[in-house]
Amino acid sequence: MLNTSKRLTLSIVISLSSALLLSSCAKRAEGGANVIELESSANACKASTQSISAGSVTFSIINTSDKVTEVYLFASDKKSIVSEAENIGPSISRDLVVELSEGAYYIQCIPGMKGDGFTTNLEVTPGSATTTGAHQEELDNAAAAYKEFVINQAILLLEETKKFATLYSSGKEAAARELYPRARMYWERIEPVAESFGDLDPILDLREADLEEGQTWTGWHLIEKDLWAPASGYQALTKNERTAASNMLVEKTSELLTRVKSLEYKPFQMSNGAKELLDEVATGKVTGEEEIWSGTDLYDFQANIEGAEKVYELLRSVVAKKDPALSKKLERGFANVYSLLDAQRSGTSFTHYSQLSQKEILEMAAAVDALAEPLSHLTSVVVG
């Protein structure tokens, strides 16, 4: 299956081993992009050109010093940072893509990442670019609105979690089963944020399959298994264990709320988070692995998509201006996924995962891929 490509790839390997830099230059010539080769050496910051036309500019950075280096691009005031690339190890190459408008810029390379380093000038002549930073205010507003959204979801999550904990620990199992997937939707909408707390996430959301030997199981899925207990070989939790599990759930969710109140977001974190929500759907929900006892995967699925859509809504005005085609693809993608989910919904209830046919699962998986693929380009459009 690799026959046809082998000849080609070998020649690439040869050029890589004999002339690393040459081959990377050759790669760029094809794209016809606006490229500046930038060398950060022990005693200089050397650009292949000092003048380039406005538009999308790629700095192809190579660190030829023996220290970790960083590169800053400053506007004409020499104070505002337009873009930066940090933590580039010795001999390592990295690309930095920036949208630049006409004007004077300064490039600073700081081998060792301390002191003033070395600078060089860059003149950007008129070209196709919009004004640098034109969308900054919109992006800042989007980030602020997203923070509010996350806090709001966390508040609702805590409220519903408290109700759920009370139902469960007081033995009202039917009502607890009813609330379980609905309460979890608040978690699932902000899952990448919640998961960013590496200590809270496993306590709250660990699946049995992810346990390692000797690890204590807590959180939503422990309770899930207890509420939808397997027919045989399962020992139900005692009243005390149920109370402990409920208390833990409330306590840690409350801590989650406290923490998200002080979180700030950058636009690229929002867009990466949206992509991660789709990853969650692709690996956990479409496959039915997230809620193996309750079969409530489609609730999580719906909430993950809503969380991703929220991000897109907040960034939509910027995306629509910078890449209208991407905007269209995303809107079609969301609509398509929602229509498949709607077909499995009656009121606020979704079909049990086990009731889905193989054909329906494949359709959903394909729709998720069709949405996730353009969504993974959101970051480069937003920050590019």
């Binding site: 690799l2 190890g89 990853d279 993974s376």
Partner: protein, 410 residues
């Protein structure tokens, strides 16, 4: 031990491949062209081929379960397999008189493929020595290699029995895909009635010459196995079994650990390059550690980024798998990528047939596997779906000997 021959590769370029046993290496990549590939290895010697042999481009890994056969029937099977494997590696399976009224000895699809740098390597699973009831099936119990038992169950393991284990394995590698398939097909056929195929894994590498200087890439685009043992002393210390601790037939042998690792290509392909490089701890294109240098530069785990955290993240694949964490213990990785149709949600079922040779599973392999299962940042994008271990006996010494003959000497 091996026959030296001229090796033809890629569009008429030729190189004299100097092949000399376990320390030899070949220049140039293999070719799937119709041209006969002249490289031939011999199955006879002290150590089996297909371990330190420069990795070829194709893999066909077979695991067999033995039928309810006797000790002498097993001995006969191993003799027949040895003779056939030797003929397959020499490209001479068809060189026998053919009765026109009988089915051909050679199935014929690889007649022009020559030796194809084929290596055929045999291994014995734990169940050959003691079956699931703990019965000593063939009277080998006292000869059980000391560390031969299945790997422990780890967090996130999603092991499928039907892609795991086996009484006997045969690893077939070569530079011509049809020659590799042909070898497997004929060895399976030879075993009818004595052993049934339990599972098979087809794998491919490519793009990279199997020299000592370059490393193949996995399907995530990264170089894997960069820190393989390179010098003979490393091989003796880490790969080959010697001395009298293990049963005599393991002298010059090794252990083989196999993991079938499904890689979630769809989600990986949507992850930013920054995340990809942070997960592996290497730059993707050059393969250099993020602490700098080139592919084979030693990683500097102390080199700090701007915020003081290591440039090579602590949970990166490189940081967790590096031999410096395991008292310098190394493994010889010889993995291949695989593609196996669609998974249940319609994505490509593809990944890595991870293959490692070590002289101690306990010291060189299991600690690494456990640490990776616990903290590797890569875990989000992979699942381990198959597992197996095998004892690799010494090679048959000459044409009067056969693979595993030492099992029958007591």
């Amino acid at each position: 031990m091996t026959e030296v021959s001229r090796r033809v590769f890629l569009g008429g370029l030729t190189a004299a491949g100097s092949v000399a046993g376990s320390s030899g290496f070949l220049l140039g990549a293999g070719s799937d062209s119709a041209q006969a590939i002249q490289t031939r290895y011999s199955i006879y010697g002290e150590k089996q081929v297909g371990i330190t042999t420069p990795a070829q481009n194709h893999l066909y890994l077979l695991a067999f379960d033995l039928a309810n056969i006797t000790r002498s029937e097993l001995k006969d099977l191993l003799k027949r397999w040895t003779i056939m494997a030797s003929a397959l590696m020499a490209g001479t399976l068809n060189d026998v008189p053919q009765n026109y009224e009988a089915p051909p000895r050679d199935t014929g699809e690889a007649l022009l493929a020559g030796g194809s740098a084929l290596t055929i390597t045999f291994g014995f699973g734990p169940s050959l020595f003691s079956d699931s009831q703990g019965d000593d099936r063939f009277g080998f119990a006292s000869l059980t290699p000391l560390e031969l038992r299945q790997l422990p169950q780890l967090a996130r393991d999603a092991i499928r029995d039907e892609e795991s284990f086996g009484d006997i394995c045969i690893q077939i590698c070569g530079d011509n895909s049809i020659a590799v398939f042909h070898a497997g097909r004929n060895l399976i056929r030879e075993a009818f009635g004595s052993a049934t195929l339990r599972c098979s894994h087809s794998g491919f590498n490519g793009a990279v010459p199997a020299s000592k200087a370059l490393t193949a890439r996995n399907l995530f685009g990264f170089k894997d196995g960069t820190a393989n043992p390179m010098v003979d002393k490393d091989l003796e210390d880490n790969i080959w079994i010697s001395g009298s601790v293990e049963p005599a037939f393991m002298n010059g042998g090794s252990y083989l650990a196999v993991r079938k690792i499904k890689m979630h290509l769809d989600t990986w392909d949507r992850s930013p390059l920054r995340e990809q490089e942070a997960i592996f701890g290497r730059s993707r294109d050059a393969g250099a550690p993020l602490s700098g240098g080139h592919e084979h530069s030693a990683p500097d785990f102390a080199m700090a980024s701007k915020d003081g955290t290591p440039l090579i993240p602590k949970d990166s694949h490189l940081a967790i798998a590096h031999s410096s964490r395991y008292g310098g213990k190394k493994m010889l990785r010889r993995g291949y990528s695989y593609e196996n149709g669609l998974d249940k949600v319609g994505n490509i079922e593809a990944g890595l047939i991870f293959i490692a040779y070590v002289n101690s599973l306990k010291e060189n392999f299991i600690p690494v596997l456990e640490a990776l299962a616990k903290s590797d940042a890569l875990n989000e994008y992979i699942s381990h779906v198959g597992t197996a271990v095998f004892a690799i006996p010494q090679a048959p010494s000459d044409e009067n000997d056969f693979i595993g003959s030492g099992l029958f000497e007591s």
